[in-house]
């Protein structure tokens, strides 16, 4: 489990990466790669699936077809294990790798707070990076919803939630 200081450092690096830098050459916004991001690009953490997991959630974008699946095991309200898999781009993998690393070992309530925090922090990021991160956060929240539903006795194998903002629609509009 990451210590609070390291967690804040992670969040800062992730947000900085997602917000990116404007290139002088052509005014493109390029995500900023630093040492921590590079480590997650080379070795994504918690990528894969948990067989017979305690809860499972999917965040999906029906326009682009991209999705993220989050699998968790919860013990005493603590996220004892978390994994994710994705059909999505590199930014989603980095966001998923860093976010799962941040919340593993955390209380569920703290995990939920981290999710809200990331959502809030990336509001100013470019649309593509917002949508990529949203896939991860939405899948995590769907997974928590699945945990709640299962605890209530509802027969639900997994919980699916569509992300609110697709990068595909806006890009089409921008091009049009």
């Amino acid at each position: 489990m990451l210590k609070k200081k390291k967690k804040i450092q992670y969040l800062e690096k992730l947000v900085k990466y997602l917000k990116g830098n404007v290139m002088e050459e052509n005014e493109e916004i390029i995500p900023e790669v630093n040492d921590i991001i590079l480590e997650h690009l080379m070795n994504p953490r918690n990528y894969g699936q948990i067989d017979n997991c305690g809860c499972c959630g999917i965040g999906y974008d029906d326009k682009s077809g991209e999705f993220v699946i989050v699998y968790m095991n919860i013990e005493d309200d603590t996220i004892s294990d978390i994994k994710f898999s994705a059909q999505a781009c590199q930014d989603t993998i980095v966001a998923g790798s860093m976010f799962t690393e941040m919340v593993i070992g955390d209380k569920l309530a703290n995990g939920a707070k981290s999710a809200l925090f990331v959502r809030d922090k990336i509001k100013e990021a470019p649309l593509k990076q917002r949508a990529c991160t949203s896939l991860v956060i939405t899948a995590f929240e769907a997974c928590m919803k699945n945990y709640e539903n299962r605890a209530l006795g509802i027969d639900e194998e997994l919980h699916k939630t569509k992300i609110q903002e697709s990068c595909e629609i806006k890009e089409e509009k921008q091009h049009g």
């Binding site: 290139m23 050459e25 590079l38 690009l41 080379m42 994504p44 990528y47 077809g65 059909q87 781009c89």
Partner: protein, 269 residues
């Protein structure tokens, strides 16, 4: 699920990515050739599995290839080949495969006899300097992200097209998939070697099953065309971003190849 297929898939990647990591051009070339032989083995095993109704998928374990020296790599590959060979059954196909792998082990063992074949590996030093070229921080970041994204994408395309090729009943489609696989193998080699030169080499992540177990082929092809178009755009963008004539020309060259991929894919519709 077929354990032989999984191990063989991982072995192919281990040998292929070792070829990117090693700097000595003669050894690099030889390892790359071996990886191509292993890839053909993989294709033959998938074909055998289809005939025998043995299910296979593209699951793989996390592979640690961050070795410090050539000799570390050679010893690692010898161990991995032996582990995989121990799984083979008594079949003509596996006799051939075993014989190929025995030769690869023999070659690697010979390299280990001569200390001049040992060199430190720089493919994981994270320096992010490409052949002493001076690129701005933003250009370096753009190049880094492009290489990671496209290395995964090419690997994914190779595996998806191979899967489709194994299950098609049309000779025409079979040939088109082979062209697409060959093209992607070249792109993967190019990008993998670039990642190694920049010190950021890593094996791509697992491919999600829903990507290659296709239920709607037309949708799959149309999505693939969209992706090729996106890859083209990325190449054009990158060519304009990196302030280096040699790199720009290379990305324009790759971009032009993507045009033909789109035409090949349209023939599959």
């Amino acid at each position: 699920m077929d354990k032989i297929y999984k191990n063989k898939h991982e072995l192919w990647l281990k040998v292929l990515f070792s070829s990117f990591a090693v700097k000595n051009t003669s050894i690099k070339g030889k390892l790359y050739d071996f990886s191509q032989i292993l890839f053909r083995h993989l294709k033959w095993i998938s074909s055998r599995n289809k005939i025998l109704n043995i299910e296979y998928n593209y699951d793989k374990s996390n592979i640690d290839i961050q070795k410090k020296s050539n000799f570390d790599f050679f010893n690692f590959l010898i161990d991995e080949i032996r582990k995989t060979s121990s799984l083979y059954q008594n079949e003509e196909l596996f006799d051939r495969i075993k014989n190929d792998e025995n030769y690869i082990v023999f070659y690697l063992q010979n390299l280990l006899k001569d200390n001049s074949n040992d060199q430190p590996i720089e493919a994981f030093n994270k320096k992010r300097i490409y052949e002493n070229k001076v690129l701005s921080k933003a250009s370096t970041d753009a190049l880094t992200l492009f290489l990671f994204e496209e290395t995964y994408k090419e690997y994914e395309l190779i595996m998806v097209y191979s899967y489709m090729q194994n299950y098609t009943k049309s000779i025409k489609e079979y040939a088109i998939y082979q062209d697409l696989v060959d093209e992607s193998l070249f792109h993967l080699k190019s990008f993998g070697n670039m990642l190694a030169k920049m010190g950021i080499l890593s094996i791509p992540r697992v491919i999600t099953e829903s990507i290659y177990k296709v239920t709607n082929i037309n949708k799959f092809i149309n999505d693939g065309i969209k992706e090729e178009e996106a890859a083209k755009e990325e190449c054009v963008k990158l060519a304009s971003m990196v302030d280096d004539i040699e790199l720009s020309k290379f990305f324009e060259f790759i971009n032009f190849q993507e045009n033909y991929h789109i035409e090949l894919m349209k023939k599959l519709l």
